[in-house]
Symmetry: C2
Subunit: 397 residues, 2 copies
């Protein structure tokens, strides 16, 4: 009796649900500390103490019907102004408050942007490996996700395949850097080439192609790595940001969209963003946490914890013979699986109480994703299990 689309989605997602349930089951049998669950991208570090102080300060000193009341669909005026100014200071951009809309995390923001841009049958391009939800977000608005083959060497972008897949129906291209699942940061060179190709194709087809940058991991860049800001490379650029990882607030659903003031149809887009936010049922981004943004924009959780995990897990896996790009950001490792069948490999790993997600879920078979936003002990204690797994595949003796 549920809709045809949902039937399909439910049957697909029950595979992930089955894995989740299996993990819970394993934890019951072996004890939580004896299961090495690298399957979930849920921040393991507490929010900075300033978030708590900010909330208390707001509750004690601001007018409650204002703090908890409906805001404009795009957000509080002072918050929009503040975010625009902060971004301009940080990235040398030219955002006005009219360029910004506060959103229900990046997932909400991307849904809003897709709702605004996409006609049925339009195409959205994603680069493998990519966050699997992008397909659902595009299909929500009856658009099709077109996947560009991976650049296996550097996990940057396979430009040849990209160029060949742009058509007159291409309405948006979505990137995610630092990347989930590879941990790679797209370089300035990569973004320059993306922009070049898009400008050329826009001219060829007489269309506007929007580059949507999904940036929940922007602040998770290690060794001083710089994450280039997309509006500086391309005019039709839209950033979807989330405070989920930087401030460890994924459950609070707070983020923003920043649309380049130079984007084609800028005013139509922003009017659409406001309407889409309303009618999709978001209405406004959670109001208290909009005000928290005013006080905690520059704060960060203790991201060094992830850096330590990254180095340790990378060294451990590579010393066991796993091939893996050294990730510059986010909190994921994306090793090659020793057999082509990544689903089988991840299934075999369960024998040693290791949970990870097959690369196929990210449009990249032959790989597996490990989320290292776990306790350091989980990583250390998993070594023996990984050793057994490597032995099973003859990678070590």
């Amino acid at each position: 009796m549920i809709s045809e689309k949902m039937k399909d989605l439910v049957s697909k997602s029950s595979v992930i649900r089955a894995m989740f349930e299996e993990g819970k089951q394993m934890a019951k049998i072996y004890g939580k500390e004896n299961v090495y669950d690298f399957s979930l991208g849920n921040p393991s570090v507490a929010p900075p103490e300033t978030v708590k102080e900010a909330i208390k300060d707001i509750l004690d000193n601001e007018e409650p019907t204002f703090v908890h009341g409906y805001t404009s669909n795009s957000g509080y005026e002072d918050v929009l102004q503040f975010v625009a100014e902060k971004l301009n200071q940080k990235f040398g951009t030219d955002f006005t408050p009219q360029c910004i809309a506060m959103t229900n995390g990046a997932a909400g923001g991307i849904n809003v942007i897709f709702k605004v841009l996409l006609n049925p049958g339009d195409e959205v391009i994603a680069f493998a490996p990519f966050f699997g939800e992008y397909r659902n977000y595009a299909v929500n608005y009856d658009a099709n996700l077109v996947v560009v083959d991976p650049d296996f060497e550097k996990m940057q972008i396979n430009f040849k395949d990209f160029e060949s897949k742009i058509t007159h129906k291409t309405k948006a291209v979505i990137i995610n850097s630092p990347n989930n699942p590879s941990g790679v940061i797209y370089s300035e060179e990569t973004l320059n080439t993306v922009a070049e190709i898009l400008y050329k194709k826009q001219k060829e087809f007489g269309t506007s192609i929007y580059l949507v940058s999904d940036e929940p991991y922007r602040e998770l860049a290690y060794d001083g790595a710089v994450v280039p800001y997309v509006t500086k490379f391309y005019k039709n650029a839209i950033v979807g940001y989330s405070f989920s990882k930087t401030l460890s607030l994924p459950g609070e659903r707070i983020g923003y969209i920043a649309v380049s003031p130079e984007a084609d149809s800028f005013e139509e887009i922003m009017a659409g963003v406001s309407v889409a936010t309303r009618i999709l049922g978001f209405v406004n981004a959670p109001s208290l946490f909009q005000r928290v943004v005013l006080k905690c924009f520059d704060e960060k959780s203790d991201l060094d914890v992830y850096d330590r995990n990254r180095k340790y897990l990378y060294n451990m896996l590579t010393s066991l013979g796993f091939e893996c790009i050294y990730p510059q950001g986010a909190f994921y490792l994306f090793p090659k699986t020793p057999i082509a069948d990544d689903a089988k490999f991840c299934n075999d790993a369960k024998e040693f109480r290791i949970l990870m997600v097959p690369g196929s879920a990210f449009g990249c078979p032959g790989y597996a994703r490990l989320a290292y936003c776990v306790s350091f002990d989980t990583i250390k204690n998993s070594e023996e299990s990984f050793r057994k797994l490597a032995k099973k595949y003859g990678m070590i003796k």
Copy 2:
């Protein structure tokens, strides 16, 4: 360059936006206290003090990665359990935690339910007068809203028209009681007849027709009026609740869906709710406020304030000759306009610095909606303006 659907939506919503801007302009010219703005349903009463205390208590005593972390798509397990128990105590229902999903307010909840239920071309029935957003929520999923003519006498339901409009394509019927904009509460008799008709039509067409009850105003019932609970009248019933008005937290986006355990395809629906919550970009209802629900479920803002406003404004308007049903709930009055052209009437009212919304926006021309969630002074001070308006139409001398 934005989608065709959005172009249409933006052009329509710019009418409301124009009104909103005009109101702001009027406030600048005449002073805010001299503009009688009855156009917005934004609670004017502060949340109960216990909300603030609950938040502080949670921040001080619960684990922050738990409080602010991702929850299951349907919500924290303990919150689902608690809500089910509370509803069972209050309404004698048989909800299990599996019947409940925490949502981004009622607007988010209804979008989730519509996403789960509706195939393109399906029909959703609403009863005029109705909250205009229902049309957008249905169209989001390519369904059509079918509007049943008003019952002008009592603003209950025009059953004859209702019955004639149910077809094999009818997938859902949406009701809203206490009603926005009429303030009427649907009686037990009304719900019994709705159920009778739906059971008959389900049998006739061999379909399942879901009755979705949008209940943000449930607790705003005056003079001891009882709001009947819909799952007791009909098996295929789904309640969409919001704490927006009861706790004065509309900006925080917190509510729940409760699906009758007897509903057809119950398990499929609940699996769909979880998936839809995720892929629409809600991911989970804001986590901190889910935990606030655990502590404040039985709390209420000072709703007597609205009751006082209701009586005063009703008496004022009727003594000036306006015809109006005495509202039993919500915070709206819905008088008949003295001329058939409700848009013209609302426009004329601006001359006297009164802002209200034409009934046409609720599928009920010839009426106007006044939201009395304003300060008592605004109501008192508006009397002179309403007197002039009544004089203009020859209602008084």
